[in-house]
């Protein structure tokens, strides 16, 4: 049992994980910023999820964060809570999420990061999960309730399998936390713009640029900012400071508003397109 967060190898031969790195390198060359889009896998069902992910890419998303639904999403606000409930109701399991990623991989090379809570992964078995995720075409993991102190075992398995383990930095992170987190992180740093749960907010926190500069003192990894970014204007503002912008609940709201409608996927595409144009314009 690794209790101090040290890396414990799982003996899976790793392959280079480059899709995330490539994406940021390409964007840097062209002077663009990453649009990272979040949707919950299986919301409202697996087939629609697959179409949504492919549409996200066509609409200009650079990466997809794919939410793995959990019965007790403690870090999520009402919008993503409801998405998790819909996904669980449609029978989504971690195994099916990996199958979904495999399906998407036949048509797309967009980097995919699984975003979720630790218990479903723990139940699946860390080593088996890391191996299966890599085989399915997952690029990175972000486990909300797994701070570096508890992440040693999963980090070892992820490293061996060639998956990035992405960590959060938050407005509460002091220098000690930033040093610890950045020393363990790979892929990119996810900076949470406000203390709180996921969800749209009417105003951006004024502290974002200063916080990003602070994080940059500790790492050369790209920094993406998320939580509370919901409009093209907010996305374009944050894109000036950060290497990438994460939009989640605002996309889920479009899904929620169009449940049962034939236009669901198209509406999601339109919205993500408007975010892209906001960031590029």
């Amino acid at each position: 049992m690794a209790s101090n967060g040290s890396n414990v190898g799982c003996g899976v031969a790793g392959k280079a994980h480059v899709r995330i790195e490539d994406a940021f390198a390409r964007l840097k060359e062209g002077g663009g910023k990453a649009l990272v889009t979040f949707v919950t896998a299986g919301d409202p069902d697996m087939e629609t999820s697959r179409e949504i992910i492919l549409t996200l890419e066509r609409a200009g998303a650079d990466m997809v964060e794919l939410g793995v639904p959990f019965s007790d999403p403690m870090a999520d606000g009402p919008t993503i809570q409801a998405a998790s409930e819909r996904a669980l109701k449609s029978g989504t399991t971690l195994k099916k999420v990996l199958r979904l990623v495999g399906d998407v991989r036949r048509d797309s090379r967009i980097p995919i990061i699984l975003f979720g809570y630790y218990n479903p992964i723990f139940r699946y078995g860390l080593e088996r999960f890391a191996r299966d995720a890599k085989l399915a075409g997952v690029d990175g993991l972000l486990v909300v309730d797994l701070p570096p102190e508890e992440a040693g075992e999963l980090k070892g398995c992820a490293d061996d399998a060639g998956l990035d383990l992405i960590y959060l930095v938050t407005p509460t992170s002091d220098e000690n936390r930033m040093r610890l987190i950045t020393s363990r992180a790979s892929g990119f740093i996810y900076y949470i713009s406000v203390p709180g749960v996921t969800g749209a907010r009417s105003k951006l926190a004024g502290s974002i640029p200063a916080s990003i500069e602070k994080v940059r003192r500790y790492t050369d990894l790209p920094i993406c900012v998320g939580f509370g970014i919901s409009t093209p204007l907010q996305a374009s503002t944050v894109a000036k400071w950060a290497d990438g912008v994460v939009v989640g609940s605002a996309i889920i709201k479009v899904i929620e508003a169009n449940l049962g409608s034939n236009g669901l996927v198209k509406k999601v595409g339109n919205f993500v397109g408007s975010l892209r144009r906001g960031m590029d314009g």
């Binding site: 209790s3 870090a75 195994k95 630790y118 701070p147 102190e149 938050t170 992170s173 949470i192 203390p195």
Partner: protein, 406 residues
């Protein structure tokens, strides 16, 4: 292993990262990490400070009403005709349950840390009332999260909390019970982390809560040790306590862990029966998982989704259990059993009839198991039950089950 040595290691846990063997830890979002680290530092600093210890002692005596009696339940013992049964009367604490031992301690910490606002989750409402009580006394803003299912079961406690100046927030997500209230309290904490102190009511949650709440509740076991020695001249043969999250049980057990001859039983809620799938017995019927900040025995499906639980007692209706209990179970130091709703109600009635003491539905689970146990033991044996709370709050539930309209 010598009798006295058996379990010496237990009293040294958790380790520095809050682990009890493989259990416990800090499985929380990064936003909360600085807050739990700050709390841990503050707790370590103040718990040994003379003024803190003196003030806590004063409050436990003058405000809570400690020490609570250790009462020889002679009539109940006679009726059963086995071991002598003693009741640790935590039901006589101010607010009617052991919960206030912990909320007083955490409130004293909150004040020293300069926090002006406290939040808490509650199931049966006892922890909510105990939190609202100390918040009123210390002039702190107080918000309580409670599942709507539990609000229905525990109406009188909601009014008590409001009377004490707390805001009670109904939680209607998931199963609308204790675990969902805890989810919502964690969401509040992560949002208002800078000025808010989260008073967790049981030995669960991220480190340092399981350790800190245990320490505050251990006053129960320390008193029992002294009292039973005075009364019978020796330590007891059995300690019995109900286990939801497990704070009253750990509070009773912990000061005895090194006494190898003292056997201990934690009693979980078997609801409609362990095989029915409708229960809340995490140790007896669960598997290892991670919820609300610690690795623990958890009621979950094979995909790691947390299951809905059932118990007649709202305070035991929780899918996880304190990490220290998981460790004590695996090590064999404490035995864990489960008692059904029906058995608990039977014990609830019997203790009321034989001793004139109406126990909380939670505590009735311990009473039910202890009655079975005492019947199988000889008259020279001593069994101590932690009567963790009084039953006034359960009148509606009990009447409904008994088919009485009140």
């Amino acid at each position: 292993m010598g009798e006295r040595d058996k379990g010496t290691g237990f009293s040294r846990l958790p380790d520095r990262n809050g682990h009890f063997g493989i259990y416990g830890g800090r499985y929380i979002s990064e936003t909360l990490m600085p807050a739990v680290l700050e709390l841990e530092r503050a707790y370590k600093r103040f718990k040994n400070e003379r003024s803190f210890k003196e003030e806590l002692k004063w409050y436990l005596r003058e405000y809570v009403g400690r020490p609570t009696p250790l009462y020889f339940a002679g009539r109940l013992s006679d009726k059963i005709g086995g071991a002598r049964i003693y009741l640790k009367r935590e039901d006589l604490c101010h607010t009617g349950a052991h919960k206030i031992n912990n909320t007083i301690g955490q409130a004293l910490l909150a004040v020293r840390m300069g926090k002006k606002r406290v939040i808490a989750e509650t199931g049966a409402g006892q922890h909510g009332v105990a939190t609202a009580t100390v918040a009123a006394h210390f002039g702190l803003e107080c918000e309580i999260y409670m599942g709507t299912e539990d609000m229905e079961r525990q109406k009188p406690n909601i009014f008590r909390m409001k009377l004490l100046g707390a805001r009670v927030n109904p939680v209607s997500s998931g199963s609308c019970t204790l675990k969902d209230a805890m989810n919502e309290a964690l969401r509040d904490w992560v949002t208002n982390v800078f000025g808010t102190f989260y008073i967790i009511g049981t030995v669960a949650g991220p480190h340092p809560y399981p350790m800190m709440v245990r320490d505050f509740q251990s006053v129960i076991g320390r008193e029992v040790r002294r009292q039973i020695r005075e009364m019978v001249g020796r330590l007891p043969d059995y300690l019995v306590a109900c286990v939801g999250g497990g704070s009253n049980a750990v509070g009773l057990f912990h000061p005895f862990l090194r006494d190898g001859k003292v056997k201990m039983v934690g009693v979980e809620a078997a609801g409609l029966g362990l095989r029915s799938g409708r229960h809340a017995a995490s140790i007896c019927g669960g598997s290892v998982g991670v919820l609300h900040g610690s690795k623990t025995y958890l009621l979950q499906d094979r995909y790691g989704q947390v299951k809905d639980t059932h118990s007649i007692s709202a305070g035991l209706d929780y899918p996880g259990v304190g990490p220290e209990h998981c460790y004590l179970h695996d090590s064999g130091r404490v035995e864990y059993r489960a008692v059904t709703d029906k058995e608990a109600i039977d014990a609830f009635s019997k203790l009321s009839l034989y001793e004139g003491i109406i126990p909380a539905m939670e505590s009735s689970h311990a009473v039910a198991y202890a009655m079975k146990l005492a019947g199988s033991l000889s008259k020279d044996k001593v069994v101590i039950i932690n009567l963790s709370g009084r039953g006034d709050k359960d009148m509606n539930t009990a009447a409904k089950v008994m088919g009485v309209k009140i």
